[in-house]
Symmetry: C2
Subunit: 808 residues, 2 copies
């Protein structure tokens, strides 16, 4: 496997120093979990030194610290740029201990200084209200990964190294996390990483054998079986195993040296050979390079290694009992207190720290320096990212002509913008599209004029735009698409995740966790803002008439609605130009989750680019041309509000029906493109001020709403607005099957006819023509029902009920 | 591998017959996708025979049909009970074709008869409005699996065979689905299936090489690599590969014969040896049986096999272009029409069906008979399930004494009920608990008095209740926990999935899809109702003060709120006895998703079991003892409503503060245990009638609400109720960190002091004592802020702010 280690085997002295460094990290881990005072243990341990609430996870800590210390050695020897990703993120105190030992922590948090006072604070702040939590997270320097919800470490590592040729992401995967679906799918990384242009992921699968209260699957399988599993996934694993520190130190350092050498060999060979591809578009020759077998390390050491072997007669070290706090009730139990003191003194703190609490110089020298320290990794801490230069949207814009008279596949021009973002960043690649095999289906296929789908597996003749050089990331996993993108964004690059709307729920929990990350990270001045997570929901519920009920679900809107308004945005562009304006804004923004919901099919176009920009800026506007107020200052008889492309189409048609049949009634159409203008400003910063809200919706006028999402979820947007009960909302109400597009809006009672009937029923008086229109609507709905029934036996044209533009 | 096939190799005659049967299935698949008339092709194909909208997935069909036909042979030869799970569920028409050919379809849907008229209808109904969708789903006889959202086939198969020793679940996994996280994690099934008491899963990984528009990872890997991957996951795979039907038929039939023989060998050996465990509780000896290496088949055949090889100069068969409809525009394109006719005639329909459209007898004889037909599998079609006998709850009930004076870990008695459900069903095992390694953490550990955690891997001495005989399913994957349970339920058994509240979002999309399945399945009279999916959310946002922000998220409530009220229930029991009542109801119910949200920590208890049952029945009740109306018929000055355990505790404390400090004001406390009583009945069948709603909340009185979930999501429950703007809701508002439990309610402004202040501000007049109470609340909140600040340096007791029961 590769060439020899960069600096040969460790000397006994080096081993001894490294072991003491590891001891210091373990000591500080225990101190954080247990101590509120006497952190240096310079006096006998007494109950008052013990925290009143013992929280935290010890079990994974020694393994994380061991790996961190050995990576320090590797970095020092090679000057490699390494990102540390702690899959077992609940091992927070050990990662903090290491970042503290290397000096980064005190630079970021000067109060936690590299002396006795700082060490006191380090211990005190952990698991203390307002202090430091037990998981690695935004507050941990050097981290791009929150360790609370397990499963995403390896995909974050993979995304981080894309277009990042110098970076090595060392990713510790716990054997608990390895049982999750998202992690299990992540092992395919080698088939999506190109050694020419991407960096390397070095997985370190840490098997300590147990979770909270039971064994792990991989922890109980043999070395051969676990090696076979990683090998079968395309890696070249080596196992380091043992419970004798000296032997493990030697074996792990050799394994890391070898892994590093192999990584560099792979990269050198690939880069010397070149990418094999320089052309673009159809002249491009496909690079059929297949995946490198990247090194991986399996580390099998006892859970809670160096901790108490037995407590109260039960084995602890090496078992699930070491998972959290191995010694409980220490404040009140003298025996446990003594055991804790014995445990802590086993690290010989006096041989690690001087009287002032400073790490001894010969140990401090083991950490890398400056930006090479993993806690100081610029990629992790949000070094200012290079903005995208976004081409003038005018070249993608659609000329709608008379509103509604032109139809366009709404997402297609966005694909052209994405294409040009790929080509425009060739010198400094920093944009990617991630999509579960649906790029073409979602009408974003123009990107393939600029690049290919990425796959480092043998090509076939029939392949369409698939190559090792491709940078469109398609894999049939929403988890991987989103997770790779998150890793890419958190290291300062830009992108979009495009998903069928319903299946974006697959990774909904990731969206929640990412929003939490951003909410927390924004509060940390030392973290630079990162490009936003942009989620494009296409193939929406309303136009999955062909795929049926399982493909119909606007639930991600609900999920995002409840998150913090500081970090979430929800856009429902009604047409192409508004979509372009929203996408431009999303790509320029930082620290948000931008949800953009729009269908991919051919839909009527309404606004010019200039109008679209103004509409996007306002978030919601009166569409004068669609109503008949003609500048009247009187309140309209009915307001039709709409949000989303299909709801807009139906609401416009309803407005047209009303004006045609009930000309005396005044109708206003309000289009809402930014859902978060609706709630009051204290709920969301986009919330309209009272005056603007009233200028759109009046204070007391009846409003019929056509809403893209679940009908009732809309009401949570309105609380705090005047007389919210006057809003009558139609939206997706969990009705659907394989049917026609128009039947979808009928089944969910959001059709133009339903909207017109609702509007008629809400008008202040019975206008001339109202009954005739009601009869007309009911007749058409009856005819539709008949049509659907008859359809089965005598199939007429499916799009018979296509919208007629207002004013035609 | 195992003994020889049950019936030896296929004769040439048998091969020819089987091939023709497969041809018939392929023919009917194409007919469904394309034809609205002339289904038997007894006249030349003309444009008017073609459907106006061509939908459906051809690519996976031939593979599914091949496997189905060969499984038919196996069943006929062995009388094995086989469940067919079509992972590539978008291959709906081919599964329908097979269920039709075997006769089940016509029994379930008599209109689709086994003759020319039925075949006409079979073709017409597919992808037609009101007809049959393109995915396998509830309407497909024999299916427990919807093929729309990919990833769950193998976990459904695994759950189906648990406690089902006679069953073989033959699970086709597509190479697209194999890229998903949930599927990737599912390969660990052998470590959770006990050959003594469980049935067998036979995975058939079908590699046709492509997805919608690109290659698959596994499709491009070598046979050796794919075999190594399955082998490394604990299976004994064999590859069947080719594009020559004769050879593939022979190889596949031999592979299935061998796999079947191996399965029976494994089962016989294991069952002859016995489980090695008959005791219970601490006397139980742990059965250390390790996993069998169950057979698996890798089938590599061309995508869209037997379809057009090339269309318009592009290769189709064997490429992504065969994924959906290989020939487009057939109605208008004479060349494509001719190609379609040629393709369909290649199956020689006249040699398959007689003039009346009936499958020729020698082919019909190839299907199994009666209940052994996979479409008629009783386990799949909801054979009436054996109800659980639920012990009298009185033995688990808590005596609360004076309300609020007793504290209990709320979920602990539920664990005792679960324990007794395990022991009470030993003769006919049909209850299991599924939980990601948190059974003890969630205080449900009493189950381990009855059984163990299940794991078929080597045991260690330090293990706590882990054995091969264990039937508590712990794996660190919410996907697997929920998916196994879904498979268990859909085959008629009972269970609970217990999850940390925040991480239930990981499998939220599965919850959506399962609710969709139930909603559809309920409409099908031939499907028996199935036990409900019971999801217990513990370790809730309010009491993840120790784990921090990532562990705090009540989002699954939002997700379930938007689903159909026909199939969803949301219970927020305030204490143990109400939890027991809710759990009993959930376990007895059918066809629901029951979300039960309750924290696991020690909390005050309020209601006796009788009161709890009445409260659960009502869904929401006035708690007279907590207010001071004393039977007055006047409207109270303020109503405090609460839903959820922590909100109840805070609201009760606020009520107590108000009564103590502002005795002249009348206060009503309403506890809502069933969230779905709040919306009008047209939204949810539990919706209170207007009179009852008014009797609780009046029509105009101000209501201060303490709500477990996201604060604003509550408002969607209220739309349609009188004057919804008078409800002032406090709930989780995405604020949290590692802190104290009380600080969590302060951060989210739901503390007793916030509630009291809000109540004071909403009262009809300024009562005596109001200002003093407001000052008191503000002082205490200031003191709390101080306390949190000080906490850091001088840690006082964390639970200083514990609730004082009202009236104390």
């Amino acid at each position: 496997m590769g060439t020899a280690g960069a600096n040969g085997a460790m000397s006994d002295d080096e081993l001894d120093l490294l072991h003491r460094y590891w001891s210091a990290a373990n000591y500080l881990t225990v101190a954080q979990i247990y101590l509120q005072d006497n952190a240096l243990l310079r006096e006998p341990l007494r109950p008052e030194h013990i925290k009143p609430r013992l929280l935290g996870h010890w079990g994974t800590g020694p393994g994380l610290s061991l790996i961190y210390a050995h990576l320090n050695r590797l970095i020092r020897n090679t000057s490699a740029e390494v990102l540390f990703i702690a899959g077992p993120g609940h091992g927070g105190p050990s990662v903090v201990a290491n970042v503290y030992l290397e000096g980064t922590y005190s630079e970021v948090y000067p109060d936690v200084s590299r002396d006795a006072a700082g060490m006191h604070r380090l211990a005190r702040q952990f698991s203390t209200p307002g202090g430091v939590g037990s998981h690695v997270g935004p507050a941990t320097p050097g981290s791009i990964h929150e360790g609370g919800e397990l499963g995403y470490s390896l995909m974050h590592a993979t995304g981080a190294v894309m277009d990042n040729p110098g970076l090595i992401a060392a990713c510790v995967v716990g054997d608990g996390e390895a049982e999750t679906g998202p992690l299990a799918a992540s092992w395919t990384a080698p088939f999506f990483l190109n050694p020419v242009r991407d960096g390397a992921v070095l997985p370190i699968l840490h098997l300590n054998g147990a979770k909270i209260s039971g064994p792990t699957v991989l922890g109980r399988r043999s070395d051969e079986d676990v090696e076979a599993l990683l090998h079968a996934n395309g890696w070249e694993p080596v196992t380091v195993s043992g419970d004798q520190p000296g032997k493990v130190h030697r074996a792990l350092s050799a394994a890391l040296d070898n892994a590093y050498a192999t990584i560099r060999d792979i990269q050198r060979d690939a880069r010397d050979a070149g990418s094999g591809d320089t052309g673009t578009g159809s002249n491009r020759t496909r690079n059929r390079t297949t995946a490198a077998r990247w090194p991986a390390i399996i580390l099998r050491t006892p859970k809670g290694w160096t901790g108490p072997e037995t407590v109260d007669g039960s084995p602890v070290e090496g078992t699930f009992r070491a998972h959290q706090v191995p010694l409980s009730g220490v404040k009140d139990d003298p025996e446990h207190l003594a055991l804790l003191e014995q445990w802590m003194r086993s690290y010989q703190p006096e041989s690690l720290f001087d009287d002032g609490g400073r790490l001894l110089p010969e140990l401090a020298a083991l950490a890398p320096e400056g930006r090479l320290r993993m806690g100081a990794a610029p990629w992790a801490n949000g070094q200012p990212s290079v903005p995208l230069e976004i081409p003038d949207l005018v070249q993608y814009a659609v000329d709608p002509g008379r509103p509604g008279s032109t139809s366009v596949e709404t997402t297609k021009p966005l694909g052209e913008l994405f294409r040009d973002l790929y080509t425009g960043t060739e010198d400094n690649p920093r944009f990617r599209l991630f999509c579960p095999d649906e790029t073409n289906s979602n009408r974003l296929g123009a990107v393939f004029e600029a690049t290919d789908r990425c796959l480092l597996l043998p090509g076939h003749d029939g392949d369409d735009h698939v190559s090792a050089d491709g940078r469109v990331m398609e894999v049939l996993s929403e988890h991987l698409c989103q997770g790779w993108l998150e890793g890419y964004l958190l290291t300062g690059r830009h992108g979009f995740f495009a998903s069928y709307e319903a299946f974006a729920m697959v990774s909904a929990s990731m969206t929640v966790q990412h929003a939490k990350w951003l909410q927390h990270a924004r509060e940390l001045a030392w973290r630079s803002p990162v490009p936003s997570l942009n989620i494009l929901l296409t193939s929406t519920c309303w136009r999955n008439d062909h795929n049926g009920f399982s493909h119909q679900g606007p639930g991600l809107i609900d999920t995002v609605l409840s998150l913090s308004g500081e970090v979430t945005r929800i856009y429902l562009p009604p047409d192409t130009n508004t979509l372009l304006a929203a996408a431009e804004h999303a790509l320029r923004s930082k620290d948000y989750v931008n949800l953009v919901v729009v269908d991919k099919q051919s839909h009527p176009q309404y606004l010019t680019l200039a109008e679209a920009r103004a509409h996007a800026e306002a978030g919601a506007s009166r569409w004068e041309w669609a109503g008949n107020e003609n500048g009247s200052s009187a309140e309209p008889d009915i307001i039709l509000a709409c949000a989303g492309d299909i709801p807009t189409e139906e609401a416009l048609a309803a407005a047209w029906l009303l004006q045609r049949h009930v000309p005396d009634a005044t109708v206003r159409v309000v289009n809402v493109m930014d859902a978060m203008v609706l709630p009051p400003r204290e709920v969301h910063p986009h919330g309209l001020d009272d005056g603007t809200f009233t200028s759109l919706f009046t204070d007391t006028g009846e409003v019929v709403v056509a809403w893209h999402g679940y009908a009732r979820s809309f009401h949570q947007l309105l609380h705090g607005r005047p007389n919210p009960e006057r809003f009558h909302v139609r939206g997706y109400s969990q009705q659907g099957t394989t049917t026609t597009p128009f039947d979808m809006v009928v089944l969910n009672r959001m059709s133009r006819y339903h909207l017109a009937l609702e509007a008629l029923s809400r008008m202040p008086r019975q206008f001339d023509g109202a009954q005739a229109l009601a009869d007309h609507c009911n007749q058409l709905l009856d005819a539709h029902a008949e049509y659907i029934r008859e359809h089965f036996e005598d199939l007429p044209e499916i799009r018979e009920w296509v919208w007629s533009p207002p004013g035609s």
